[in-house]
């Protein structure tokens, strides 16, 4: 095919009886990319990965790996490999035997197998004497690394991950996220990762695809998805966000109690059209009405939440709308709960979402 994509999905449909899990999905993943598919449960991301690794069959459409169509190839003949959510390590085998499993299937001699397994232990920063350990003797993080080593031993064209970190505690997850990103750099393999955690996706990925109801809502690099979401769903899925319903009147966006500085850059939204003006909480500032913000809104400070390095404030504005403000701890506001405040932000830090 005339595409430089490593993996290409063409109008892939998956139906379970009358329920359609995937509605004609197109996707291109490039060689060496760390690509993450994010979505809430039921969005079709698990169905997607089952199709990609060959554990399920597509109802319609095609999956191409380079110029070879693979959607009818059974899992054991596909040159791809997956790290399972449960890790799916073989409990009756030692760490070494687990890692060597794909090599043994290829009838590689025991000597070469062991050498490769030890190399992989080094790569995953596991001590070499783990080779003889039982799986049940390894901690959660170590099992994670063994599962990765086993998948890498297979030398897959693409390595798939099905939420492998979701069962781990927060700290370990953070460590492994970084390790995984590092491993991606060192191996240069193509990683396709599935998760419901946006944070995980943001830390590791080159590109992110947001899934909803069996469709891709947006596919873009992490920054773009964060700052320029295409819909309310993406904006809200990507963390705390303030969305103001606005209407284009006289070349300006107004509504939701926002006061607009008339000198602000004019909108090119046609007169009378509606949209959602998005501003992330870290771009909203407390002011006194004379700081020259392009958008201002007044309200009453409700509550203050400490989020570690940041402080989050909830401000109730006219009509009961809650606006969220985030500040670094060192810039902590002095206002007390219940006091009247004025909030401001600049047009450059906003993004207009126009949903059809």
């Amino acid at each position: 095919m005339n595409s430089d994509a490593l993996l290409r999905l063409e109008n892939v449909v998956k139906k379970f009886g009358r329920f359609t899990a995937l509605h004609g999905v197109d996707l291109e993943i490039h060689e060496g990319e760390f690509f993450t598919i994010v979505g809430p449960s039921g969005s079709g991301k698990s169905t997607m990965i089952r199709l990609l690794v060959g554990m399920d069959e597509v109802s319609d459409g095609a999956i191409w790996l380079r110029d070879k169509r693979i959607d009818e190839t059974p899992a054991h003949e596909r040159p791809t490999c997956m790290v399972f959510q449960s890790l799916a390590l073989f409990p009756h085998m030692s760490v070494g035997q687990n890692i060597e499993f794909p090599l043994k299937l290829r009838r590689i001699t025991p000597g070469k197998r062991k050498a490769r397994a030890l190399e992989l232990l080094d790569l995953l920063r596991l001590p070499r004497d783990y080779y003889f350990k039982r799986i049940s003797q390894c901690s959660g993080g170590e099992q994670q690394r063994v599962a990765l080593a086993r998948a890498l031993a297979f030398e897959p064209e693409i390595l798939f991950f099905d939420e492998p970190l979701s069962a781990l505690d927060y700290r370990l997850r953070k460590t492994l996220e970084k390790e995984l990103k590092d491993l991606h750099h060192r191996t240069g393999k193509t990683f396709v990762y599935i998760t419901h955690s946006l944070e995980e996706a943001m830390v590791m990925s080159d590109r992110i695809a947001i899934m909803k109801d069996g469709r891709f809502e947006q596919i873009a690099v992490a920054d773009e998805i964060y700052s320029q979401p295409v819909s309310r769903f993406v904006a809200e899925f990507m963390g705390e966000v303030n969305l103001f319903e606005v209407t284009s009147t006289g070349g300006l966006l107004s509504g939701s109690g926002l006061e607009v500085d008339p000198d602000v850059a004019r909108t090119d939204l046609p007169e009378g059209e509606k949209g959602l003006l998005m501003v992330r909480p870290e771009y909203v500032r407390f002011g006194d009405g004379t700081d020259g913000f392009e958008y201002t809104i007044s309200g009453r400070l409700l509550e203050e939440y400490a989020l570690g390095s940041r402080i989050q404030y909830e401000v109730e504005t006219a009509g009961g709308r809650i606006v969220t403000v985030e500040k670094l701890r060192e810039d902590r506001a002095t206002s007390e709960s219940g006091s009247d405040v004025t909030l401001g932000f600049d047009a450059a830090n906003t993004h207009l979402i126009v949903e059809n």
Partner: protein, 284 residues
């Protein structure tokens, strides 16, 4: 109070220990003692000798034992192969239908073994259900498959099927689905998944199933008597005869001790390799 708690386990097992002592251990001891008595005595006050054991070799009783063990081995092997697909289906595929199968198989146990075996005799004998009908319709008759070794093995397979099927299904259900999927994903064919994932992980169920059917089949009498028409004599049959018609309790006891010894060692060997708690689902 703490002292009582510690002894609670022992105290609550006392009733069953008493039953075991009286109903199980005591008769076993009597049998063991009788086995070293001189021939044809009916009390234990004689000078011990081992003549009964030499009779085992001299008078060809070892042949009965070999037949019993051989047929038990054969039927166990056949059961393993026959039950595997069915047990796999029950554990992984059938869902609701598993219950139907379980009830159906258990129901067959409600009918006495002898009656079921006689049912097979009526079905298979010359002029019986099958041959009789075929001869009546086509005029061509054939010999009954009854009264041979294959039909005895068939009988053993038929009677002891539940004892292989259920432990096997239990064992297979312990094989995690994702381990099988991961193996396939890593390039394993169906055969490789069977030999490297399914069988090792279902091993406890396989061992228990094999032990149960082997032990029961090795001590079986009815199949050889009813279906086999005593084409071969099983060791359990010999034991019965020695105690009844033979009126030679020491001989019967010696044969029993030999059988118990062989089966007991096999069972201990098997059980020592299985984590029974795991099968009962008490720990993972």
């Amino acid at each position: 109070m703490q002292k009582l708690n510690r002894r609670l386990g022992f105290l609550s097992s006392l009733p069953i220990l008493a039953v075991f002592l009286v109903a199980f251990f005591a008769p076993l001891m009597v049998v063991a003692l009788f086995s070293v008595m001189p021939p044809k005595v009916f009390n234990l006050t004689n000078t011990p000798d081992f003549s009964a054991y030499s009779v085992f070799f001299e008078q060809g009783y070892y042949r009965s034992l070999l037949w019993s063990l051989g047929m038990a081995l054969g039927s166990t092997a056949i059961l393993l192969i026959v039950c595997w697909p069915l047990a796999y289906g029950m554990a992984k595929v059938f869902r609701g239908f598993t219950l139907v199968l379980t009830v159906a198989v258990v129901m067959s146990l409600f009918v006495s073994e002898n009656i079921r075996l006689f049912g097979w005799v009526l079905t298979l004998m010359k002029g019986g259900l099958i041959e009789g009908h075929i001869r009546a319709w086509t005029g061509i008759g054939f010999d009954s498959p009854l009264y041979g070794i294959p039909i005895i093995v068939f009988g053993l397979v038929y009677v002891y099927l539940p004892f292989m099927l259920f432990p096997l299904a239990q064992g297979i259900s312990m094989v995690p689905d994702d381990a099988r999927q991961a193996a396939a994903d890593l390039g394993a064919t169906r055969w490789q998944i069977l030999t490297q994932i399914d069988i090792p992980l279902a091993a406890p169920g396989i061992i228990v199933g094999c032990l149960l059917s082997f032990v029961l089949a090795a001590g079986a009498v009815a199949e050889a008597k009813i279906l086999g028409g005593q084409a071969v004599i099983t060791i359990a049959d010999d034991i019965e005869t020695a105690f009844t018609f033979g009126q030679d309790w020491p001989l019967g006891s010696a044969l029993s001790v030999i059988l118990i010894f062989i089966i007991g060692s096999l069972s201990l060997l098997g059980v020592s390799r299985v984590d029974l708690d795991r099968i009962m689902g008490r720990k993972r």
